[in-house]
């Protein structure tokens, strides 16, 4: 995982928010992990009106001008990647 281009850090949590693996900028970053777990819980309770009613959303991205956090939940584990934003994938809100 750590060899991907543009990747600044990686964090793998279990469903309670305990750190299983981490590297780079996010090395053992329990603070960021905790906030993201909280966000996922808030988002999970409501389906936020997204169409797919089964599990609401597949991916949560938190975008800053030059980097972003990408969060996925799979197999009861929370994957968080911090990446540099390449201009092509920039999101305009």
């Amino acid at each position: 995982m750590d060899s991907l281009p543009n990747q600044l850090g990686y964090l793998l949590l279990d469903e309670d928010g305990a750190v299983i693996a981490s590297n780079g900028d996010l090395e053992n970053d329990e603070r960021i992990g905790g906030i993201i777990v909280k966000m996922l819980r808030t988002a999970h309770k409501q389906e936020l009106g997204l169409n797919d009613e089964k599990d609401g959303f597949q991916r949560m991205t938190i975008n800053y001008p030059d980097h972003c956090y990408i969060v996925c939940v799979s197999n009861k584990r929370i994957h968080i990647a911090k990446r540099l934003v390449s201009p092509a994938s920039e999101v305009i809100a």
């Binding site: 960021i32 906030i35 988002a43 009106g49 609401g56 991205t61």
Partner: protein, 90 residues
């Protein structure tokens, strides 16, 4: 004042792919909601944007994006106000 906001929201609703818009204040009370956006969720949306600003304090307000196969939800906070935009993938 609210007329201008309403106009802005209606304008946003006519943008391609946009199916819902919601504005909420600092307390999570819904100011306006249009399309698929449900005013019940204004609290959660506000709380999400507040949490996101605590990730990297002082780095400005990030944009949160939720997505699945067919739709997206963008949430952005500005000066305490939260704006959520629902879009379908085109």
């Amino acid at each position: 004042m609210d007329k201008e906001v309403q106009k802005c929201v209606e304008e946003l609703m006519t943008s391609p792919g946009v199916v819902g818009v919601l504005c909420a204040d600092r307390q999570g009370m819904c100011l306006t909601s249009q399309g698929v956006a449900n005013s019940n969720y204004s609290g959660s949306l506000t709380s999400l944007s507040h949490l996101a600003t605590t990730l990297e304090p002082g780095k400005g307000d990030p944009v949160i994006l939720f997505e699945n196969h067919e739709s997206q939800c963008l949430i952005h906070q500005n000066m305490g106000m939260t704006l959520a935009v629902y879009k379908t993938n085109t």
